[in-house]
Amino acid sequence: MNFDDELPDAQPDPALRKALQHWPRPEARSDFRERLRAEFLAAPFEARASEEVAAQDLGPAPQVAPRWGEGLPVPEILTPALSPARRPWFTLVSIGAIAAAALFLFRWQSPTRWTVAASSEFTLARVDGKEFSPAQGEQLAAALKPGSVVEVEGGALDLLLDTRVALSLAAGSTLTLVAVPEPEVLASIWLDQQRGSLAVVTGPGFVDANLRILTPDGEVRVVGTRFAIEVIAGMGTCVCCAEGIVSVFDRPLTEGLVPEAAPEHKLAGGEMIFVFSDHRPRESGPAIADHLAPLESLRQVWAGAR
């Protein structure tokens, strides 16, 4: 049993520890335990599950938004058994119409390319003030637009921008999606992290893209890598790079400020830099293991995309 307060001013209290140990774990009735065991192992829940699961909170395993292109009509009509009464031109026209409809649907859905990764464990997230539970991953992804403000109340929200970038936003974080690439128009991915912790892993589709992340204390520019940022209010911004090269600027390059005008530091894999809010000289050192830890699981989301 754990008893350490783990707070600086906490004092061990053996007497209280001894007292708490006198409340053993409550035991269930054996008949209840066995009955539930039989039900659980026989898996009788499937039939009734479908009626309940949509309305319930699935905890840290959220509903996953459909993959890109999923949900489109299955083109079974493309290979029908031709009726003797139908003429070939009718079939060709039908094929063309269905293909056009499918293409229209595909393009109509294309602006929404955010998905909530299955690895997410958030308990509550907000997009532009609207709350989403883990069961509403698809709706959350659909609500993400350029300019949207994303806040995570609990757990970690893992977001994928098609195959370009994966973000893991920890509890207590706020991130603005300043700009994301429009369909078929290559542009910067530009994020503004106001507070909290963000882990980033670029994906196989990141080629030729670029990523800018503003923080209150600086800016991070990336050309394909894995790194993590933590904004500590009133203190500064910590950037830890696991792989690749990250450019860290002491100030956000907004309002016309060109990169040459702001001090830049190149951060390589395994390195860390801390940019202070009060513009003290930045500190650098080895990357912090705790900050890199989320990246290992986050990079796995690309395993099936390569």
Binding site: A19, R25, R29, F45, L58, P60, T123, H291
Partner: protein, 223 residues
């Protein structure tokens, strides 16, 4: 750099699947569990039934409600296993679902019907119902409890008097031995807030149990 404030923050490395105590499922078992293989389901049930029932019972007190909730939780777990990632630690995942069910219960009419002593006493302004900690003249003091009842009863009653969120944090940390970081993700708050809750829970328990919580030598007298 050791003075930087985030050295102990962010998200610590999650417990790697299969590398925990013998009571935890191995990596192979977790993979089988995600596929809902019978032997893995059986192992999962054997490992987690006692924990889940114990956790729920410590929070809801009412035995029938604890059984209903436990059944509901296992039904939910069974369904959710299809989306469970075996690379993720199992225990926080299970307790997140259990915690959500308990929250739902606390917010339900059933709970309010059964627990007249509970009200919307929001202990830290986070909008969750929690037990009202009333200290009327009729309340027995801790010394009286300790003098006149079993120690187990005294401890249980003291913990029952804690606001719901403090009780939840105490049970998850002390009895279920989850890390603060895991609890933070389960209850949807940051780690610092959870540490404060835990510290506050212990502080309130000390007060509730008085100076006599060394139960080897209970002291008499009114509290």
């Amino acid at each position: 750099m050791s003075s930087l404030p985030h050295r102990h923050g962010f998200r610590p490395v999650p417990s790697p699947a299969g590398s925990t105590s013998p009571e935890e499922l191995t990596a192979d078992e977790l993979t089988a569990l995600a596929e809902r293989r019978p032997e893995a389901l059986e192992r999962f049930y054997d490992v987690y039934f006692t924990r889940v029932f114990g956790y729920v019972s410590r929070l809801v007190k009412d035995e029938h409600a604890a059984e209903d909730l436990t059944q509901d939780i296992f039904m939910h777990l069974h369904r959710a296993l299809s989306s469970y990632d075996p690379r993720r630690a199992l225990r926080p995942w299970v307790f997140t679902i259990a915690t959500n069910k308990v929250r739902d219960y606390w917010a339900s009419a059933t709970f309010h019907d059964r627990s007249l002593n509970f009200a919307d006493d929001d202990e830290d302004g986070e909008g969750r119902p929690s037990p009202r900690r009333e200290r009327t003249s009729e309340e027995r003091g801790p010394r009286a409890i300790l003098a006149g009842a079993e120690l187990e009863t005294a401890v249980r009653e003291a913990i029952d008097r804690l606001p719901g969120q403090l009780r939840q944090t105490l049970v998850l940390r002390y009895y279920e031995e989850l890390a603060f970081e895991e609890i933070a993700r389960i209850v949807g708050r940051n780690e610092v807030a959870v540490r404060k809750r835990y510290s506050r829970a212990l502080s309130e328990l000390r007060e509730l149990l008085g100076e006599v919580h060394d139960l080897g030598t209970p002291q008499g007298g009114a509290g």
